[in-house]
Structure formats: C-alpha cells, structure tokens
Symmetry: C2
Subunit: 195 residues, 2 copies
C-alpha cells in the first residue's frame, strides 16, 4: 500500500485511484459479459485493465466485491432510465405499464454484455445471488403503488424475467417488440387481480 499523496502524470492521487477503479470495473464487465463470471478472476481482470494486481486490492477486497460493484452499476443505470420514463407522462395504466416494461427491457438488453451479466452470469456467482432477487423485488416495488400491489408486481417481475431470459438465451423465439407487447398484457392482467 502506498501513501497516495503525490500527483503523477499531472493527475492527483485520488483521481488516479478513481481511474484505476473505473478501469477495473470496465474490465470486469467485459470479462463477465464475454468469457463469463467463471473466467473473471483477479489475475484476468488486472491483465485486461493492464494494471498491477496490487492495485486491485486498492479498490476491492476480493473478486466478489468487484462482481457486485459491476452488477450494481448496471442495475443503477437501468433503474435511472426506468424512473425517468415513469415520471414522464400520464397516459393511463396500460400505457404506464407499457412504457416501464419497454424501458426496462431496452435498457437491460441493448448491450449484449449487459444482458448476459444481468440475466445469465448473475446466476453463476454466489455473491450475486442474493442481490439478484433483491433487484427483481426492487424493480417490482418501483411500479407498485400500494403495498397490496407488491406481491402481484413481484410475481409479474418474475414472469417478465423468465421470458427475457428465454429470449436472451435464444431458446424463446421472440422479438423484443413482441416480448414487450405480450409482457405488458400479462402484467396488466396480473395487476388487476383482486383478492
């Protein structure tokens, strides 16, 4: 561990450290989204980022912490886009659900690496497992207006993810537009269930 006090190449110490962290996160996404979580090791991430393995521990205590950080960053980006669309217009309940699902699907599947990390590779890491379901619930609660809606929304979120995974993995022959359309119907019906 260094004192990290001086500036180097005209860049102050804390900024250099932040840059290195970003490079590690980018390399993590690249490896997770192409070779898979299994191949995302400390050694490989540092080689991809062209960084000394020593700098890995400057920002993360272990590989799991990097995996979680990459995952959280992707979730945050998607959540921001979804909330932005939510606050956008007022076109009735069905239109609202459609816009939210469209934004969710688009923002999580536009980049194949992001889709693979969120929907495929996130299953392969023990560290990501608890976070995965908390995330599904988080998005469900995002659209649930009342506490009574939460169970329905979580049910719908599980169904939505199931179909997205089928599409992403190629086992479900469905275009993105078709998926969004069908999921909107199914979600609207689900949210209409009265106990």
């Amino acid at each position: 561990m260094y004192a990290t006090t001086r500036s180097y190449a005209g860049v102050p110490a804390d900024e250099r450290k932040a840059d290195r962290r970003e490079r590690l996160l980018d390399s993590g996404l690249q490896l997770m989204g192409t070779d898979g979580v299994h191949q995302t090791t400390v050694r490989n991430v540092c080689a991809e980022a062209r960084l000394n393995p020593r700098y890995f521990y400057e920002s993360f205590t272990g590989i799991d912490e990097l995996l979680v950080a990459v995952f959280d960053r992707l979730v945050d980006e998607a959540a921001n886009k979804v909330t932005a669309v939510m606050a956008h217009g007022a076109d009735g309940r069905d239109g609202f659900v459609h816009r939210v699902i469209e934004a969710f699907v688009e923002s999580t599947t536009a980049d194949p690496r992001v889709a693979r990390v969120l929907y495929l590779e996130s299953y392969a890491s023990e560290a990501l497992h608890p976070r995965r379901f908390a995330t599904a619930r988080h998005f469900a609660y995002l659209v649930a207006a009342t506490p009574e809606d939460r169970l329905r929304a979580e049910f719908a979120a599980g169904g939505l993810v199931q179909l997205i995974v089928g599409m992403v993995s190629g086992s479900l022959p469905l275009t993105r537009a078709e998926l969004i359309h069908r999921c909107t119907e199914l979600t609207v019906a689900t949210m209409r269930v009265r106990t």
Copy 2:
C-alpha cells in the same frame, strides 16, 4: 479401472457399482443442500460417501455431471408427483391449477435441502444454469393445454418461482398455504389473458 466382473460381499459387480453411484448422489444432495454447490467438490463428495476418489470417475466424468444428475433426480421426483396429481380428478380449471401448484410447491420445498438445491444453489453452477430454465419451461408446458398457453404458462412459472425463492430465502414473509393460494389466483388470471 477394474474389470468389474466378480461379486464382492455377496453383491454382484453391477449392483455394487449402482450402489456407489447412489451413495455419490446422496452425498451430492447432502453437500449441495447444506454447504452449497461451491463446497461440493470431488474430494468432499467422496469423503462424504466414504468412497475412494477413483470410484467417482466410475460413474461421472466430472463434478458437473454429478450436480446435473442430482438436479435431474430432484426434478424427476417433483415432476412425477405433479403429473400424478394432474391425472387425479376433474374439479374445474381453478381447482386444477390449485392442485398442480400445491403439488409443485410441496414436493419442491418439503425437504429444505431439496429446496435449497432447486431454488438457491442451482443458480451457482454454470452446468445447472441451462437446465434450470429448461426445467421451468418443462413444468410450464406440463400444464399448458395449447401452444398459445405456453407463453402465459411460462410467465406464470417465472412468477411462481420468484415468490417461492422469496419464501425459501426468508425475505418474503409468507406461509406455504398463503403462497399457494395467492399463486393460484395470479396464475388463473394469467392464463385467462386473451390476445
């Protein structure tokens, strides 16, 4: 590798081999359901089964093959119970859905080890990942009468699994009876959606 021709301890060779395979499968379930997939190694499985590591390769080519075999055995047992209940009575559509969901939930969550393997640990193995979604689809197609029902059924299966995982992981305060009741409502509503 031995010729496996003789009998030993009054047991013929093929039967001894089958016994060893069963012991390995049982040890695999025990380890996967308690310590987790991550701790389920060739060494640990053989130690749990009190078997020489050499006998592992007599029945499996690697640890992934054992994980898949354990998973498939649990799925088969659950599928048999579900199909048995399906052919049972004729009490209308809602009753049918209720019986199927009840049988599915009971048979997959009665044994905590089974529940952990099917709903939690199955996410942690790359070998189990593709099989996991094929299984969800398999159960969905089991109850889907027409091809048009398949998408709806798969959506409902994803929602059901999402809520089961929430219950099993303890993050969703719900009893099994409540879960079955609510999922029946939601599934019935989902299957009623007309395009």
